[in-house]
Subunit: 253 residues, 2 copies
Amino acid sequence: MRILIVEDDYFHASFLQNVIAEALPEVTETLHAQDGLQGEAAARAGRFEAVVMDLQMARRNGIEAARTIWDERPRTRILFWSNYSDEAYLRGVAEIVPAKSAYGYVLKTASRERLKLVLRAVLLEGQVMVDREIQRLRRRSASHRHVLNDSEYAVLLDLALGLQDRLIAERRGLSLRTVQNRLLTLYAKLGVSDEEPSMPGLNKRVRALSRAISTRILNVEMLETAQRDLESWLGERPVNEKAPPTQEGDGAR
Amino acid sequence: MRILIVEDDYFHASFLQNVIAEALPEVTETLHAQDGLQGEAAARAGRFEAVVMDLQMARRNGIEAARTIWDERPRTRILFWSNYSDEAYLRGVAEIVPAKSAYGYVLKTASRERLKLVLRAVLLEGQVMVDREIQRLRRRSASHRHVLNDSEYAVLLDLALGLQDRLIAERRGLSLRTVQNRLLTLYAKLGVSDEEPSMPGLNKRVRALSRAISTRILNVEMLETAQRDLESWLGERPVNEKAPPTQEGDGAR
DNA sequence: ACAAATGATGCGGGAGCCCGCACTTCTACC
DNA sequence: GGTAGAAGTGCGGGCTCCCGCATCATTTGT
């Protein structure tokens, strides 16, 4: 069995190699890539069955690297290994994992024993496994602020990219008013409201993004990924011009 | 000489201790705190002259920890040691460093030799020193998107927190129109505009925040710090009610 | 099968936002 | 001293946004 390690921190990478050697004696070879791009290239060339992937790397983050790896070989088993349990990462991973494959998610703070366990479970036995520490954190925040469903999350992403209502409606195939309803519930779930005595007049739209980021429902990596997705959507869109209800050559604006 | 290390990653902390022992033989004792809060407490109790501080830690980030340490003992020398060179961190540090003190900023990817050099220069000799790698990155992005001056940055923070124009004006002691002018230049400098052929109707306000985050001009840590500052400002504000429609003596300006 | 709940949509209006135009300080450079 | 440029402010208009009120369609419970 051959394993690819994608990890930009030298210490973490060598620790991982060490643990792998101990937990998985059936491994015959491990390769170490330093960032997402290298990881993609290595996976393409090396045909690994198993990958341990850091998230949050320069040049190409772990989610995007995993996506292209899975696009090319959907059976690859990938264990995500990260310092953070941002909801954004979990949603990002859940969105791209193919049916054929197995994956896992562990925190870097997990004990050596737990890491070994997850390594075996995911990479060797093909189980799906999420560190119970993450489930715990997840549950705790869920009790507080309500959980976003997929359609709300999609709208949140669009909002975060700066799209205005009309465009969101077009992209998601909804009416304008419906989008605004989604935003409404989004505001509620993110705790954006004027009722706060301390919080006076605020711009709900921006505030929503702000809170989504503070609470790690969104993070930079997923924002960048979403931006790329948006661009490709814009690309294949049939130069759809809006027949503006009003008239005529308003020229560049 | 006694040194406090504030760092939540075990491997990095022990590597650092190792390098310190080698670079600074005059150190008689090092203490290791695992996050910002612990770091503040340790600094308060231990009266260290020198600190090596990670940014991006749970519970209390490095900037905030440094701020309270410097509030209590302004001569403490602090070396910031981070994986990232986000502009947000640099501005955050620059904002809080007291005149009496010395500080430095190194990337974790710096070579062992450079780390040793910076350790001696900052902690021992009291120089101010920023890793040249950071200057380089800084310069590169500066050429591209224009650099924000302090007042624009302040407005950006307010925008990011979700304040609306009126409140920003009040907080910064400006007229409404002036705030809007600032926002205008902010949009320009962040590259938010409709001229993009690809980018159709977008919400400039949100887009500005989005881009500020993507380009690391802002990051989560500084957003949270700014939020706390805002809350304390709101706290000491004299329950200022808006005499809404009309105007009159709005006092401060 | 009927009622209640949930979700999508339309309409309309008050408020906030973006920004062109014009006027006034304030600052800087000959 | 004078003039040009930058920054601050006011006014007004067009557009987006937030959201209450009301109407259907779909889903769910009993």
